[in-house]
Symmetry: C2
Subunit: 222 residues, 2 copies
């Protein structure tokens, strides 16, 4: 394989990953919309696309492995391919989180509507934003942009903790709204996981661009 | 590097991963013991070991990357190193799950003891068993053993679903036990995640041994 064709293969790999990431981000939006309007037909769409994302994960892993096996790339290309393998796994798990939310929506079918002290669309928008921004950092090889994702994660964690506290109190105080509150709480947890995966992606981007491992950096100061 | 020294480096890598996996498995046992007896001193131990696991994850990733960069391994060795990178990430997340359980135990501090319709130690034992078995499959390069982990995952999923149903009903019926039931439900979710990570590890072992990608195999039939 010539250098030009090798570069082309790396670009193809990146392109496939971006398509898959776009699908995963859309899955989150769909699942939260299904939750908001209680529409099971959107759930069916989420389930269907989940299968497509799983297939893409396999294809991307295989393509990355083929490049490693056939080309024996050095240094920066090697780190790029490893970043793709790791990001691939996190993107697929964003899809899993959407599926979890969609499963919750199905379980709400018999529950009455209830006003709850939590703004799930807002939390979803922040988490989706993190996924989008981490991927943008990947496209542009922008470690500074990736770092902004790490600080957004604290905001989502804070929202999740606040939601947990408010919903747990509600459950204890008003048992007739307990099932709805529990469902909302589970959806928040899934969104917090989405934010965690976006954080992992951002860390992988920084690792790829800078060659430094920023994961668990807080630990180093401990 | 001679072939013998290269083989030695691969064995070192495997050895480090096994030490880390043993720690992660122990973390789950400790966290569930902390839950069972409500002992915050065990929580402190879990937090401390979590930092050690995070450090080991970084070291293993770096060692794997160094081997890929310097040795340009082919075929079977390449797949082994990639399996190590993937398993490493799942083992670290088993440690994260233990930390989540430990955080829950801290939040129980002000709650009265309550009898709950869920056997968390049993679920924890099954999930730990899956982690141990998936790593044993890795040591022995035993794809058949790894496959048994995949079927155990269904059992844990079933236990988690049953726990969810029982605890959600309890929350709606008896609000004075709602906080304890919610905590138990969150611990079950964390254990279900442990089982998912063990499943991922088992799939990576099969991928390494057989060269076949068994992930999302159910999807192929869909």
């Amino acid at each position: 394989m010539t250098r030009i064709r090798f570069q082309q293969s790396l670009d193809d790999l990146k392109g496939k990953l971006l398509v898959m990431a776009g699908m995963a981000e859309q899955q989150i939006q769909r699942a939260v919309e299904a939750y908001r309007v209680r529409d099971l037909s959107i759930c069916a769409l989420v389930d269907h696309s989940e299968l497509a994302i799983n297939r893409m994960e396999r294809e991307i892993d295989q393509a990355a492995l083929d490049l490693l096996a056939m080309e024996q790339p050095m240094a920066i290309d090697l780190r790029f391919i490893l970043a793709v393998i790791k990001i691939n796994s996190d993107v697929e798990r964003v899809g899993d989180a959407a599926k979890s939310i969609s499963d919750r929506v199905r379980s709400m079918d018999t529950m009455a509507a209830a006003d709850l002290p939590v703004d799930i669309p807002r939390m979803a928008s922040l988490a989706s934003n993190m996924v989008r921004r981490s991927l943008q950092a990947f496209i542009e090889a922008d470690a500074d942009l990736a770092r902004t994702v790490l600080s957004m994660d604290d905001a989502v964690d804070g929202m999740n903790r606040a939601a947990h506290t408010a919903l747990a109190s509600l459950m204890a105080a008003e048992s007739h709204r307990a099932p709805q509150a529990l469902t909302a709480l589970m959806v928040c947890r899934s969104l917090e996981r989405v934010a965690d995966h976006a954080t992992n992606i951002a860390e992988d981007v920084i690792f790829w661009v800078k060659g430094a491992d920023v994961r668990h950096q807080g630990d180093l100061e401990a």
